[in-house]
């Protein structure tokens, strides 16, 4: 690693003022520390979020679940107020990763195979930052790309809790990320389906399945649909065609598990 200092501010305000020049935010470090070890970043200074109390914790108001950006996966897993989300968190990586990794770090990083982006997009979540609120549909902009500006911090994520939901992850066994993951969420005004792990565009919605499932929330509604392999990821773990096939299979399993 290159040399750098770590600052540990106690408030969001202090963190924002500390983020000058090349400085980077450090949350759980489960993605950033391996990046630093590979010398893919030379931040000069890290501004740690781990001492910021106001960014941790989970609050339920009515049907809205607000999760602080600094909340670790283990705490979301233990919460249970949004069952499908807690189940998703309990299957991220391994126990040690879940002790440190945070929802804010995952949403900010927007890895194309990460789990939380699928939950946020399928739930129509609101990404709360130190300056504004961004709808998930506008927030995720492709592989590792988000609407965040330089120095902007994800302080919380707000999830409207659906009537029924489920996340199905086909695990890529070496990385423990999703080879393909599908999050299905059913709300009074329609069903949303978000797919991770599959596309060169990153997390995205499968709108044809959403329409079919909104009309009829059952696996049979998916029968006539097919997923195009265009622009899906090709790597040694799976071809685009294989991933296209998995998207439909995982969506079906999620619908079965949710209903």
């Amino acid at each position: 690693m290159y040399a750098f200092d770590i600052e540990r501010p106690a408030t969001i305000g202090e963190a924002v003022s500390a983020l000058t020049g090349e400085a980077m935010v450090l949350s759980g470090g489960q993605t950033l520390i391996p990046t630093l070890k590979s010398r893919l970043a030379d931040p000069g200074k890290l501004v740690s979020l781990s001492g910021i109390g106001e960014m941790k914790g989970i609050g339920l108001s009515g049907r809205d679940l607000q999760i602080g950006g600094g909340t670790v996966h283990a705490d979301v897993a233990a919460d249970g107020s949004y069952k499908a989300l807690s189940e998703l968190a309990s299957n991220i990586g391994d126990p040690a990763v879940r002790s440190r990794g945070t929802i804010g770090g995952s949403i900010a990083n927007n890895d194309p195979a990460a789990c939380y982006p699928a939950a946020a997009l399928a739930s129509g979540a609101i990404i709360v930052t130190n300056t504004r609120e961004i709808a998930a549909d506008d927030y995720f902009q492709g592989m590792f790309e988000t609407a965040l500006n330089e120095g902007e911090i994800v302080t919380a994520v707000k999830f409207p809790i659906p009537d029924a939901a489920n996340y199905q992850k086909f695990v890529q066994p070496a990385s423990r990320f999703a080879l393909v993951g599908v999050f299905v969420a059913k709300y009074a005004d329609g069903v949303r389906v978000a797919v991770t792990g599959a596309s060169n565009e990153g997390v995205h919605r499968w709108t044809a399945a959403e329409e079919a499932l909104t009309a009829n929330f059952s696996v049979s509604a998916l029968e006539g649909l097919s997923v195009s392999a265009d622009n899906l990821i090709s790597d040694l773990h799976g071809s685009p065609e294989y991933r296209a096939h998995l998207i439909k299979v995982m969506t079906g399993r999620a619908v079965t598990a949710a209903s």
Partner: protein, 161 residues
């Protein structure tokens, strides 16, 4: 350099660390607590697992400065007060849960975290909990058996497959 103070295995410890000093190197290089092993240094193998504030953490993937004020426990703090092996360590010995022993500190610390949270896990739960711990020798069966035995459950039916 930043000054850090933390409690390690019940003793208060202070030291000066650089921003990029990993908790694993603070433990091993500065404090000579070399029971915590470095197998991969890339968050994959779990040989470096310690507990920070009661939770399992890969010490190669946390900065020492982030442990300011924390309660840390390592394999060196696991034995009973009289120096005898604790229940988990003894079970690893009794059930041949180790061969070369390189992965064992991380396995024991991960098992301890599991049993604290879930005192009577199923075999499946043990296997899931060991997702981040790699062993190149045993083939895992005896590690799983040792952890089941340490939880006080009957392991006579758990055959080495």
């Amino acid at each position: 350099m930043t000054k850090v103070t933390m409690t390690i295995n019940g003793k208060s410890v202070a030291g000066d660390v650089g921003g990029n000093t990993l908790l694993s190197s603070f433990l091993r290089d500065d404090l000579r607590l070399t029971g915590t092993h470095i197998g991969c240094d890339t968050s994959q193998c779990g040989a470096c697992v310690v507990h920070v504030n009661g939770r399992p953490v890969k010490s190669c993937t946390m900065f020492a400065a982030e442990a300011e004020g924390a309660e840390v426990s390592t394999i060196e703090g696991q034995a009973n007060a009289d120096g005898s092996l604790n229940v988990i360590q003894q079970a690893f010995q009794d059930h041949h849960g180790l061969q070369c022993g390189f992965c064992t500190p991380g396995m024991v610390m991960t098992a301890a975290a599991l049993l604290k949270e879930n005192p009577k896990p199923t075999v499946t739960e043990v296997r899931e909990h060991l997702e981040g711990n790699i062993c190149r020798c045993t083939g895992y069966h005896n590690i799983v058996k040792a952890i089941m035995a340490a939880s006080g459950q009957d392991v006579s039916a758990i055959a080495a497959e």
